[in-house]
Symmetry: C2
Subunit: 357 residues, 2 copies
Amino acid sequence: MQEATPAPRSDGGPQAPKAVSIFDVAKEAGVSHQTVSRVVNSHPKVKESTRTRVLEVIAELGYTPNRMARALAGGAVRSVTVLTSDTSLYGASATLKGIEEAARAADFTVGISVLDAGSAQRPAEVAARVSRPGEAVLVIAFDAPGVRAWQALPAEFPAAAVVERPEDGSPGDRPQVWLDDRAAAAQATRYLLGLGHESVRYVSIPSSTTRIGQRAEGWRDALRAAGKPLPEPLDGGWSPRSGYLAARSLVADPTVTAVLCGNDDLALGVLRAAREAGRDVPGDLSVVGFDDAPQSAYVHPALTTVRLDFEGLGRGCFGMLLRLLEPETAPALPMWGEPELIVRESSGPAPSLRART
Amino acid sequence: MQEATPAPRSDGGPQAPKAVSIFDVAKEAGVSHQTVSRVVNSHPKVKESTRTRVLEVIAELGYTPNRMARALAGGAVRSVTVLTSDTSLYGASATLKGIEEAARAADFTVGISVLDAGSAQRPAEVAARVSRPGEAVLVIAFDAPGVRAWQALPAEFPAAAVVERPEDGSPGDRPQVWLDDRAAAAQATRYLLGLGHESVRYVSIPSSTTRIGQRAEGWRDALRAAGKPLPEPLDGGWSPRSGYLAARSLVADPTVTAVLCGNDDLALGVLRAAREAGRDVPGDLSVVGFDDAPQSAYVHPALTTVRLDFEGLGRGCFGMLLRLLEPETAPALPMWGEPELIVRESSGPAPSLRART
DNA sequence: GTGAAAGCGCTAACAC
DNA sequence: GTGTTAGCGCTTTCAC
């Protein structure tokens, strides 16, 4: 009775000591394995004394249900796989973090599968990335590969997604969460316009849809509302490097005094391009980012940016899935924060106004 | 024969269409389910014509082996779970990326479980994070929680780890991979000393062990070799913010002309503290980072730093595991890059030398 | 309330 | 080479 854990292997081989099964517990507790199953799954109809006894033995033996067997037998799986692109981008990684957090709290296992450009476009390819048919799936669909995977996901998978914006009823009525990027971009643009800038240019991240992205839309909304002409957005990619490359021509134009960027990495690239072109930020040129990555407050000049609650969004996304999976017992959906403009050092009054001062 | 995929559900319910099993394939191909199993697992003793026929039927029916059943029956699991701390740090996330890449290439499913300060210290807690006993585990042990989990991991799990440096035989003879942080830090320090700096200070990341970290050791090695006194390292945490806080007193001291940082985020914090203290970088003060995050080349001043091949390291770690799991068939271990000092704008000659020039 | 029987989809060991 | 028989550990029925 003291032999709580199996003795460590004394022979040389990589022999895994057999794990304790439901039968071991049953035998030890003097009940059937079925009763143990009931206790583990907290069925209502077990006598209190029996339940206590079984729980004791479980603790004593260190029993853990085998997830594979449970799944095979048709029980609840408590496992999600998340489909995402490049996890090294701040948005995706913070969202993943939120998902993992919520999932672990709900005792879910989380799997991860990284999407790349050409991958997972057809239903079968998407399905192949999930460990078993019918397992739950979460997709982080901030970019095109993500959106394609989301749309191609076969109907038998319970799923939810984080999207740039809800597609008009595309993938059935599946749960989706998103942040109001469009409004946030409009707000940032209005802020810049309010500073006296004649216009605001936009260096964009790739859109997740065929259309122009939501952040670009918001930027145009604000420009349009202010009666300004609508310049073409500049395609900036995702990285500081691509932002730098894209912005070189832009910053060479002295009439450009304010630039909104699709993310903070791009803004970093723009900042460097501006410096090399002899533009002073914010005296000469204002630069605003998007996302508020942890570094952004510490770069020079500290980035004015839009803070986005990616972690909260990830938690919310998992919450949606849980509500789908277990409508009875799922807790209330956690809320996530609204986008928020954080003004720091990289933005300021238009040069014309400054001159006048 | 045309019914390749099961017809989509026509009723309303969330009824998962029953997946095609090995028996469906067997029946269709006119063989036993066992033969199908052999084909799927590419056993040598199957007649070529049979194999072809079975493969055809598999494609036709869209059959995918059920991983759970396979695992339950004692077959190869082809699944790893990665134990890691904070995935929002560049080092961890890049390593994870490398692991996921290699794992997907080897047709492994990857699970992820995030460690935090107090978690996963005892074997049972660690085991509980893995879906089933005996499943493979990879741990990213750059920090204390990671190392603790690695040490507490029960023997029955085939495992490998990415570590700061190999512990002296601690967790059996389990495979480990690492980067030579110590040599790299020494190199960076020598570089700074070579620039004429009287001494070099170090702002440290938390060490994964009870001792001082490897990067700090390397820094001390170089200082000692140069016959310099050994100042205390400054505890900097992981984030730009904590680096900033820690560095404020340091940069206020005008005798300090060179600072090595435990990572690039800290360096960002140090840079800001320096700027606020009126120190010019690199004229007045040299700052060197560690990791070469994608942003580091674009911040101002661009960071001199040590490039570390985290992705390669992650791939290597998975390779070690694969070799453990499948000694016969595992491909050669992929190699990863050596640390490399990248000199950019944040470091330069000691002020004394500049004056003389 | 509890137990007994059946079977989830697969691979192992053994027959032939 | 290929088929047959046993389970893997669990949850489902269905009895009692």
